[in-house]
């Protein structure tokens, strides 16, 4: 009896103690679509998480779950995080959009941040980066560098974010090289190294000497290296282990400032739902070092474009531009509005093939 009482009170004391600690700390959860070691997309989100830890130290506690499938399983993971007392949860893949909204309804006091989506509510913010600005720089380099005039593009899923990237890269490759042709393969996965490698090999066999990827692993880089005379760009992360060749540059996502700012907002109690869409100018999209495999004049041109994008002097989607079927989209000098870009489901004129439904 005495022992039981002792144990109970000890347990209660312990429980109180834990609760006390938990109340002091802000708990931040991260849901990842791939492994943190993918060297690409998820890796950069985890760098952002580490930056939060470095910034706030003991003030915050971070948890993450990797390899979470898009769909019902992600809902389970988010619910679990919310039940374990997370104050702020970052869900870092497009396919988590509906699950995030569903779970957010059940936990009105927990703040959610969904990457690359467009559905918001009182406790769900969205954030994304204007990757298409980076694609414009890539397209410029790719258009100059290709000798076969065939550029291969590995798409993941036919969603606006990916289609924007294809359009932006194509427009700028075409601008510097009117003969350029894009071959697009849809992998229907964010992360499957074997499939990504196969897709890259197929594109190379069909004459592509530049490979752009919108999937997360470094497998296409390895395939390009094996082919010998093919250049690639790092996706989401620098992928510098393949520099200076085949990887000649990269788009780097830098989530750290955003993650720190939003965590700070939760700590201060000033968090509110909003939509953030930053590009090169705000530092959310970085251009990895352009390697010496690129001629100096091309490099200078790419960097000049980067500067103009950063300052806002130039927009990646500036008219005159037509849609694939030839209908006019943007008049001369007109730039695309964010609404159209966010829901982009069409190719620009010159691209071949249909977008899968």
């Amino acid at each position: 009896m005495k022992l039981t009482t002792l144990l109970t009170s000890a347990a209660m004391a312990l429980g109180l103690a834990t609760a006390g600690v938990a109340a002091d700390k802000t708990k931040v959860g991260f849901v990842y679509v791939g492994p943190v070691g993918d060297g690409g997309w998820t890796y950069e989100h985890d760098q952002g998480r580490k930056a939060v830890v470095a910034e706030f130290g003991d003030q915050v506690e971070t948890v993450f779950v990797e390899n979470v499938a898009e769909g019902p399983d992600s809902e389970r993971v988010m619910t679990q995080m919310a039940l374990e007392g997370a104050d702020l949860i970052f869900t870092t893949s497009f396919g988590y959009m509906d699950p995030t909204i569903n779970v957010a309804k059940k936990f009105p006091n927990v703040k959610f941040e969904h990457a690359t989506g467009y559905k918001r509510s009182d406790n769900v913010s969205t954030y994304s980066a204007r990757f298409y600005e980076g694609r414009a720089v890539q397209g410029t380099i790719a258009g100059h560098m290709t000798k076969s005039n065939v550029i291969g593009y590995i798409g993941s899923f036919p969603i606006p974010e990916v289609i924007r990237g294809i359009n932006s890269a194509y427009i700028h490759a075409k601008k510097v090289n009117p003969d350029v042709e894009f071959k697009i393969v849809w992998a229907f996965t964010w992360f499957d190294p074997a499939k990504e490698a196969d897709a890259a090999k197929v594109l190379i066999e069909q004459g592509a000497d530049v490979i752009l990827q919108h999937t997360d692993s470094t497998a296409p880089q390895a395939a390009a290296k094996a082919a010998g005379d093919v250049i690639t760009f790092g996706q989401a992360s620098d992928m510098s282990e393949y520099a200076p060749f085949p990887r000649v540059s990269s788009i780097i996502d830098d989530w750290a400032p955003y993650y720190i700012a939003r965590t700070q907002a939760v700590i201060d109690g000033t968090w509110s739902s909003k939509d953030t869409w930053d590009g090169i100018g705000a530092g959310m999209v970085g251009i990895g070092e352009i390697s010496d495999a690129v001629p100096a004049d091309v490099k200078a041109e790419a960097l000049a474009l980067k500067e103009k994008l950063a300052s806002g002097e130039y927009h990646s989607f500036t008219g005159p531009l037509n849609k694939q079927d030839g209908t006019p989209w943007l008049a001369d000098g007109e730039t695309a509005d964010d609404g159209t870009l966010a829901g982009m489901t069409f190719y620009v004129e010159g691209l071949e093939g249909d977008i899968p439904q």
């Binding site: 492994p35 074997a194 197929v202 594109l203 069909q206 004459g207 470094t218």
Partner: protein
């Protein structure tokens, strides 16, 4: 649409690479099933082979040593299956599934420090004159040695099952273990050897993915190849050459559909993406319309006292 962009020679050469992991795993499983054991742990043994082969190749700098290690690792994991099903007489289906789950988890743990590393490259076979031949050279004479090993293994297993006494005993154990036991054959010992062989083959198949086909290590990188190999064995009616055909058909269609996409063929991508599964199954089902059937003792537990 521009079909001329597809180079048939390179297409055939790369489909052979895509098919090899499936082929290796399927041939191993075929021997296991011929001995009357159903091991559903192929996927688990493959992924263990993938990480063991990758880690060993990185540490020693030799892909070949990696492949040897992968075979041993696959066999070692199958030893767990042996203990469960041949000694503890546990249910083979449940044990096999457990083996897959265990293999996937263990490989993720073992592989944590190997993410993002590049493995040493496996040299390709180069025969002066032969490899330089047009068309035939790239298709037949300029692959890595493991690919040839896979084909040789298929031939060896076929010959072993059809012509040798060892093959006869193996089949006897798989068809009727009580009769084989009555004749004095060590049923359990023969099955254990078959399971170990299957494990080694699956391990090799896994390492082929992590060392040659991709080549890098990432968690869960076998992505269901083990299950495809299992299905192939059944649809191939437990015949080695049909397993080879099925593997090449599947690997081929996987590569062809990507090629068609890149060439801009006007077939919806979704249909292209599912075509490897459907066409492989249909072809093998049509082929298996003859009388061949599963080994009679497949999946049954043997205990000498009965």
């Amino acid at each position: 649409m521009d079909l001329s962009a597809i180079n048939p020679v390179l297409l055939i050469a790369s489909l052979m690479v895509a098919a090899t992991p499936i082929l290796l795993a399927a041939i191993g499983e075929l021997v296991v099933e011929k001995a009357g054991v159903l091991n559903l742990g192929v996927e688990g043994m493959m992924i263990i082979g993938a990480i063991a082969g990758f880690a060993t190749a990185v540490e020693t700098g030799s892909p070949l040593v990696g492949f040897v290690a992968a075979a041993f690792a696959g066999a070692a994991l199958s030893l767990l299956f042996v203990v469960l099903t041949q000694i503890a007489l546990a249910n083979q289906v449940a044990s096999g599934l457990a083996l897959t789950l265990f293999g996937l988890g263990l490989s993720a743990l073992l592989g944590q420090s190997y993410v993002g590393i590049r493995p040493p490259e496996m040299g390709q076979l180069y025969l002066p004159l032969l490899s330089d031949l047009p068309i035939v050279g790239p298709i037949l004479f300029s692959h890595d040695i493991i690919l040839y090993f896979g084909i040789a293994l298929t031939a060896a297993v076929w010959a072993m099952l059809k012509f040798t006494r060892v093959g006869l005993i193996l089949r006897a154990v798989g068809e009727n273990h009580d009769a084989a036991h009555a004749l004095g054959y060590k049923v359990v010992r023969i099955r254990i050897l078959a399971i170990l062989f299957g494990g080694a083959c699956a391990g090799l198949g896994g390492a082929y993915i992590s060392l040659i086909r991709v080549p890098q290590w990432t968690e869960g990188m076998t992505a269901g190849v083990g299950w495809i190999a299992l299905a192939l064995v059944v649809f191939a009616s437990w015949k080695p050459w049909r397993a080879l055909l099925g593997a090449y058909l599947f690997g081929g269609l996987t590569v062809v559909q990507l090629n068609l996409q890149a060439a801009g063929v006007a077939i919806p991508v979704e249909y292209l993406a599912m075509s490897p599964y459907i066409i492989t199954i249909v072809v093998l089902v049509i082929l298996s319309a003859d009388k061949s059937s599963a080994p009679a003792a497949l999946g049954r537990i043997f205990h000498a006292s009965r």
